[in-house]
């Protein structure tokens, strides 16, 4: 005990040494999802916009109030036109995207598994992927006519290429150790592809779906602006031609909701199929 008190004493003899806690410098760089922020911000922006329009600060010629856009939407709903527009758009989107994705999967898997197919497909995809498919629409109209076929073909081509790239990229990234394991247990070629390679490539394939679905919506609207009677794109184009800004905003909002819905569906699919991931 005397030694203890002595050491304490000797410490208190040096009052000049400052004592402070070590400052914390970790943390940060880890944004977390917070569900409340987006709706609050969205409501705040809409109300700011609405009040700006009501007070005359935003001219209705430049930008209609959100309430007017909503009224235009309700009018569309009541007239029964909404269903026709949505039906036409969704049909093109679903058919075009599904066909493009199915073909993309076939060609992507071929490029991921076979040397010859890779040699044929990869340069071809690299050459055609960067062409804006909308530039090919006139060509498609000549080939397939002005009806549904040319619009679906545009979406199909737009979805095909990113799917091919996502699929063979995903297959390339499958752990070779797992494939070797499959071979070491004498699994058949089909079993290795079906039970090891495809599930391993699925995360990349699903993020490819996210990209191809967005591209499909963009191309849908562009294609519908040429020679379509119904469809959200046709509705937006008509509204623009008539300078009906409230309808234009309503149409654009519908596109945004369509995009959000698609992204939500893919998010659900990811949650379901990739629950084995962390």
């Amino acid at each position: 005990m005397p030694e203890h008190s002595k050491s304490e004493h000797s410490q208190s003899e040096q009052p000049a040494r400052p004592i402070k806690p070590v400052p914390f410098r970790g943390g940060g760089f880890a944004p977390k999802p917070m569900r409340i922020i987006a709706p609050v911000l969205f409501i705040a922006l809409i109300s700011l916009w609405e009040s700006g329009s009501r007070t005359g600060w935003i001219s209705p010629l430049i930008l209609p109030a959100p309430s007017e856009a909503f009224a235009a939407f309700m009018e569309l709903l009541k007239s029964g036109q909404l269903v026709l527009h949505l039906k036409a758009s969704l049909l093109r989107l679903v058919v075009g995207w599904s066909a493009g994705t199915a073909l993309g999967l076939v060609f992507g898997i071929a490029a991921g598994l076979f040397t010859v197919a890779r040699g044929a497909i990869v340069p071809f995809v690299a050459a055609i992927f960067p062409i804006p498919k909308i530039a090919l629409l006139p060509l498609f109209i000549i080939w397939f006519g002005i009806g549904e076929e040319s619009k679906i073909a545009t979406i199909l081509f737009g979805t095909f290429f990113p799917t091919v790239i996502a699929v063979y990229g995903g297959i390339d990234n499958v752990d070779r150790g797992l494939i070797r394991m499959g071979q070491s247990f004498n699994l058949s070629w089909w079993s290795i592809v079906w039970k090891i390679i495809l599930p391993g490539a699925l995360p990349a394939i699903l993020s490819g779906f996210r990209i191809s679905a967005s591209i499909a919506i963009i191309l849908l609207v562009a294609a519908e602006m040429i020679g379509a009677e119904y469809g959200i794109g046709a509705y937006v184009l008509l509204a623009g031609n008539l300078m009906a800004m409230d309808q234009l905003i309503a149409g654009v909002a519908m596109l945004s909701i369509l995009g959000l819905t698609v992204s939500w569906i893919i998010g659900r699919a990811e949650k379901y199929f990739l629950k084995w991931r962390v």
Partner: protein
């Protein structure tokens, strides 16, 4: 079923990896292969199991594997090689499905191998929920499910921390005492080699040649009680390897 390696030589491009490797893996024995890093131990194991083709020489299967054996040469990998999207049971079932074993027959086999590897309570867990030691036990269970004639183990304990390694080593010994499996065990850990091996094949640095085949004639279950004899064997092996390892280390720095 014995395995006889006959004059195995191998090279990648212009680099010789293995030269004239010749030894026999006898039924019921564990052969350990040790050698400095980069001496081609893992390549040799891949050649033994037919995952890679040697440039010259051959591996012969002497005698028929037991009739109930589904996959005579079965690997256990260093990185476990479990499918992350399948549960523990699913990972075992994967290697049975191709043999047409499904349903209650598969369940019986899976229950049995999980019990033997002390995993019965974890059948429905996903690999990411398991520790490294548990993952390797799943891989061992998977290997046992196909009733291999020879286990080919590629540094199975190297990815684990030292305590887990100790536990799993005990499991491997216990399992051998019960079932007398045949194995070829590649490791860089001399301690593992002297505890588990009946014979230790010491390879030289690249190109890998057989430096010596050391017999360890203490029965496996008595090794824990003869620590001095084991230490002698280990020191002898280290004597063989020391210069090779140093030279191999220098080679890497120059490369």
């Amino acid at each position: 079923m014995d395995l006889q390696l006959k004059h195995i030589s191998h090279s990648y491009d212009d680099t010789d990896v293995l030269q004239d490797i010749d030894f026999r893996i006898e039924t019921g024995q564990i052969i350990c292969i040790i050698g400095p890093s980069g001496c081609g131990k893992s390549t040799l194991l891949r050649i033994i199991g037919g995952l890679e083709q040697a440039r010259s020489g051959e591996v012969l299967q002497i005698g028929e594997p037991p009739a109930d054996c589904l996959n005579p040469l079965t690997y256990i990998f260093q990185d476990f090689a479990l499918l992350p999207w399948r549960t523990v049971r699913g990972n075992v079932s994967l290697v049975l499905e191709d043999h047409g074993i499904r349903g209650s027959r598969a369940d019986a086999i899976i229950d049995d191998v999980l019990a033997r590897t002390k995993l019965s309570d974890f059948g429905n867990a996903l690999p990411r929920q398991l520790s490294g030691g548990m993952k390797q036990r799943v891989a061992i269970a998977r290997a046992l499910s196909v009733r291999p004639a020879c286990l080919l183990m590629d540094e199975p304990l190297s990815a684990l921390d030292s305590q887990t390694r100790e536990l799993l080593m005990d499991d491997l010994i216990e399992l051998w005492l019960k079932e007398k499996y045949t194995a070829c065990y590649v490791t860089h850990n001399l301690g593992e080699a002297v505890r588990l091996g009946h014979k230790v094949v010491v390879l030289s640095r690249r190109p890998g040649r057989i430096r010596e085949i050391v017999d360890i004639d203490i029965p496996i279950d008595q090794r824990q009680s003869h620590p001095a004899m084991l230490a002698d064997k280990q020191a002898y092996l280290w004597g063989l390897m020391r210069e090779e390892a140093m030279a191999a280390d220098q080679e890497l720095t120059h490369a």
